[in-house]
Symmetry: C2
C-alpha cells in the first residue's frame, strides 16, 4: 500500500487522480498495486492532508465545484508544498506544478525535499529536468530512490519508458523529432493554406498557443525537451539556454516556403535533434524541410514524434499526442506502475 | 546464470547470438544478467550440446565457415530439436525455426515440449502464435512460465513489449497499421513511378520478396501478424485463414490508382486492422488510401508501423524495420531481458 502525495492540482494533477479513480481496480488486479492519497497541496486550490488517506474522489469533485481544499475535511489543511512534503510521510511524491525553465523552481525544491525525505518522485515538470536532469538522477540513485519523468518530453506518449524498457541493451546513438505540438499545429495549418498569422490565431483560439506564444514559436519549449533527453538519456549537462544553443523557431517560415516544399514532395517541420559530435553531446532546434517519405512527415496537428537511432534497430519512430489532461495524467500513472514494478524486483 | 538453448540457427538465431556476444558485458553490468548457451540445434546446420556451456562464438564462426555443428567439439552432437529440448536442461528456449502458418509446426511442438520441461520460451516464429497464441499463453501461465514473442509481429521494433510495459494500465481499443515490409516497399516504389511488376522485381532483386511472392503480396503474412495481435493482446482465438477472413493484397493496385491518390494528397497502404465489433474481435487486411496527414503515410520502404488506440492516450504510432538479421535477433534479446526482469520480481 503506497502513500501518495500530490503537489500541484491543476489539469495534470487532476487528470492523474481521475485515472487513479478509474483504474484503481485494474491496478490492484493486474499489478497488485494498492495506494492511498495522503496529501494534495496546490498554491491556488489549497491543501489537505490525512495520514490515513483522503477521499481523493471527493477532492476532485470539491475542486471542480470551485471550492478550496483548505475546507475539505482532513487531518490538517492549508500546508504549503514544502511543509506537506516534509510532514506527510508519503512513499511517492507526484509533482505537477507550473514550469519555469530558467530556474526549475518551485518543482526543483519540491523534488529535492522529497528525495531528502526518502520518497520516490514522479514529475511532469520540464523545468527541473531540462536543467538539472543528470544531477537529479544522481541524487535519487545515491539514495536508492526512483525518479521518473515520462510526462516531461512527449506527455503520456511513451518515450522515456520506451527507451528504458523496450530498447534495453540497445545503444542510443541519436534522436530527432517533433517535440512541440503548437508549432507542428501551426505548420500543419500553413500547409493547408493559412498564413503564419492566421495559423497562430487558430492555435490560440483552440488553446494550443499562449497569448504570448514565444516559448513555442521561437523553439524554446522544444529546446528544453531535447535538453531533457540530452541530460537524462545521453548523460550530458547542457543548460537549455536558447541564446547560447542553436535554436531557431518557425516565425521566419512563409507561405511561399511551405508551397515550394510541397512542389518538391517535402514538408517543413520544427526538428529537435540530440546527437554526438567529437565525443560531445549536442542539441539543436531548427526548422527543416523533410521528404514525405520520412516517418515524421505524416505527424501532423498537435502531435509529437521522435525517431531514435540505435545500434541494433536502426531507426524507430514513436508518435502521439504531446499534451493534454488525460495523456499527461497517464504519464504519471505509467511512472507509478514502473516504480512499483521496480520496487517488487528489489 | 541462465542456461540457454537455441533451436534454429539461421539468420535470426545467428543474429541473436551475435548480439549476445557483443553485449555480454553490458548485460552483466546493467542488468546483472549472466548466461551460458548449452545447446544449439538446427535441422540443416547440425547440433551441439554441452551442459557446462558451449563456446557460442566459436559456433558462430564454425557455421559461417560452412562447417556442421555436428563436428563442433561438445558433450554431445547430432541431437534433433526435440531431443535437445528434452535433455539439455536449459532455463530458456529460443525458438527460431522456419514458419508454417497453417500448422505452426515444427515450432509449436518445440514450444510445447519446452513448456513441459519447465522452460521459459522466446520465439520469433509467427506460425504457432498466429494460430495458437491464446492457448500457448495459457499453457505457459498455468505452469508459471514466461512466453515472449516480440519478433513475431514487427521484428525488433518494440510493439508487444511496448504494449505490455509502456501502455500498462491502458485499455487497448484497436490497432491499425502496416505489418508487411515487402508490400510497403512495392507500394513505395510504385509511388516513385514503377509499375507493380517492376516494383515486385526490384523487391525480389533486393531479397525483400520471394520468387513466389504470394504470402506477402496477397496479404497472408500481414493477416498472420494481425491475428497474433488479436489472439494475444485482444484475447481472441482467430484462425489466420485468408479464405475465411477479409484479406486482400496489393496485386490489384495499378499505376493509375497510385497517381490518382497522389493528386488527392493520399497514398495507398496495405492496412491490417484489429478491432472490436458487437463485442467480437475482428481482423482485416485490405489496401486503403490514407491521407498524407496520417502518421502511417510517411512509413515507406520496407518499414512497418502500427497505430494503437487506447483509452488514456488516444493514438500512438510506432514505426521501424519489420525484418532483418540484427533487428530480429534483438527481438530475442529484449525478450530475454524482459524474462530476466520478471523473474527478479518474483
Amino acid at each position: 500500500m503506497y502513500k501518495l502525495a500530490l503537489i500541484g492540482f491543476g489539469v495534470v494533477g487532476q487528470g492523474f487522480l481521475e485515472l487513479l479513480s478509474e483504474k484503481e481496480d485494474i491496478l490492484r488486479k493486474n499489478y497488485q498495486l494498492e495506494f492511498q492519497v495522503v496529501a494534495i497541496s496546490d498554491a491556488q486550490k489549497g491543501s489537505v492532508f490525512s495520514g490515513q488517506g483522503i477521499d481523493f474522489r471527493k477532492a476532485l469533485e470539491w475542486v471542480k465545484a470551485g471550492k478550496s481544499l483548505n475546507d475539505l475535511p482532513g487531518e490538517k489543511n492549508g500546508m504549503d508544498a514544502l511543509s506537506t512534503i516534509e510532514s506527510c510521510g508519503a512513499d511517492i511524491l507526484f509533482e505537477a506544478t507550473w514550469t519555469d525553465i530558467k530556474t526549475g523552481e518551485p518543482a526543483l525544491s519540491h523534488i529535492r525535499k522529497a528525495l531528502e525525505k526518502g520518497m520516490h518522485v514522479v514529475t511532469t515538470n520540464k523545468g527541473p529536468l531540462a536543467r538539472y536532469g543528470k544531477q537529479l538522477i544522481e541524487e535519487a540513485e545515491s539514495r536508492g530512490l526512483i525518479l521518473r519523468y515520462e510526462g516531461t518530453v512527449m506527455s503520456g506518449t511513451p518515450l522515456l519508458n520506451l527507451i528504458r524498457e523496450c530498447l534495453a541493451g540497445c545503444e542510443i546513438l541519436e534522436a530527432r523529432g517533433i517535440l512541440n505540438g503548437t508549432t507542428n499545429f501551426i505548420l500543419t495549418k500553413m500547409s493547408e493554406g493559412q498564413s503564419y498569422e492566421e495559423a497562430l490565431k487558430t492555435a490560440q483560439k483552440l488553446g494550443y498557443a499562449e497569448a504570448v506564444p514565444d516559448a513555442d514559436v521561437l523553439g524554446w519549449d522544444a529546446l528544453a525537451k531535447v535538453c531533457i533527453l540530452a541530460n537524462t538519456v545521453f548523460g550530458a549537462s547542457i543548460i537549455p539556454d536558447p541564446e547560447k544553443l542553436p535554436c531557431k523557431g518557425i516565425t521566419g517560415i512563409r507561405k511561399e516556403d511551405i508551397e515550394n516544399a510541397k512542389r518538391e514532395d517535402q514538408i517543413w517541420k520544427l526538428i529537435a535533434r540530440v546527437y554526438r559530435e567529437n565525443g560531445a553531446v549536442k542539441v539543436r532546434v531548427w526548422p527543416e524541410k523533410i521528404p514525405l517519405t520520412d516517418p515524421l512527415a505524416g505527424v501532423t496537428g498537435a502531435k509529437n514524434a521522435l525517431t531514435i537511432k540505435t545500434d541494433a534497430l536502426e531507426e524507430i519512430t514513436i508518435a502521439g499526442f504531446g499534451a493534454g489532461r488525460t495523456p499527461t495524467g497517464y504519464a504519471m500513472l505509467i511512472d507509478f506502475i514502473d516504480i512499483h514494478k521496480n520496487l517488487r524486483r528489489r
